[in-house]
Amino acid sequence: MKFGVIVFPGSNCDHDAYHVISKHVGQPVDFIWHRETDLSTYDAVIIPGGFSYGDYLRAGALARFSPVMNSVKKFAESGRFVLGICNGFQILCEAGLLPGALIRNRDLHFICDHVYVRVETSDSPFTNEIQAGSVLRIPIAHAEGNYVCDDRTLDELKQQDRIVFRYCDETGAITEAANPNGSRENIAGICNRERNVLGLMPHPERACEDLLGSSDGRDIFRSLAATLAAAV
């Protein structure tokens, strides 16, 4: 199985993602410059966090027009796996690969903190090794992570079991106090209808080593690796 980490001007979590795939997942991984268009050799691509194009216009809005994004769309349509983390989630929403949008945090602050998220479903290629209801401790680092969508989209996400992560407290309770940024229904991560594209605001790649405060993020990469291993 081969992973790719897409690099836009302004991406800054690309090396973290690369490190996790090579060291903890133990699989081959390449950086993919945003001007490249051939993704044929990859099984999964990660759109990492950062500030692509300086977040000009709207977070993720300009990265959508990079040449690689057309290929990412086709890659996703072919059923292969796309994981968007933080700015990557914003880019996937702007590109229309995931519904909704991420706007300025409710309290305006840039939040850099460890938070708790509850895994809402095991029925995804990114969480199939995690029991639903599990609580993961994973950091967030964003100013625009406030997830919004219309009622119809929310109903659809719920009915199709596509809300994958929600902000919660340490015990797993979904409370307003545990909602760091004002996201609708505490949504921290969602997947597409076909379930092969996931976007989330928390940074699992920063939570893969105990030395860094948590290794809970590994479960997400372990799930994806298990999915790919089963598919090969």
Binding site: A61, F65, G100, A101, I103, N146, V148, C149, D150
Partner: protein, 108 residues
């Protein structure tokens, strides 16, 4: 009631951006206003409102922050072409239709 005396002032503050589409002589200008849809929370607008009120301004019911673009257009475009092109640009790039509305004005 105090509320009835309150003057409703909806003030929109714009961040500005200028796009020059062509380097040739400029005859025509498009103005694009992008605003958050009415139901979408605008924490920046709220913070601005709070600050303005701290400065002593009264009668402010709401502040919403938006974006404003001035786009210089090639003089060879006719009004209709210019509007179509800028509307498309506003819809597909300058705004995110999930959270924002836009309005286009063409100045010949």
């Amino acid at each position: 009631m105090a509320y009835e005396r309150e003057i409703l002032v909806q003030q929109t503050l714009f961040t500005q951006c200028f796009i020059q589409v062509s380097g040739t002589a400029i005859e025509m200008k498009a103005k694009v206003y992008v605003n958050l849809k009415s139901g979408v929370l605008d924490p920046q607008g709220k913070a601005i409102q709070h600050s303005v009120e701290l400065l002593g301004f009264t009668g402010i019911a709401d502040v919403r922050q938006g974006k404003y673009f001035e786009i210089a257009l090639d003089e060879n475009l006719d009004n209709q072409q210019a509007r179509e092109s800028v509307e498309k640009m506003a819809r597909e790039v300058l705004s995110n239709p999930i959270i924002e509305d836009y309005r286009v004005e063409i100045e010949a």
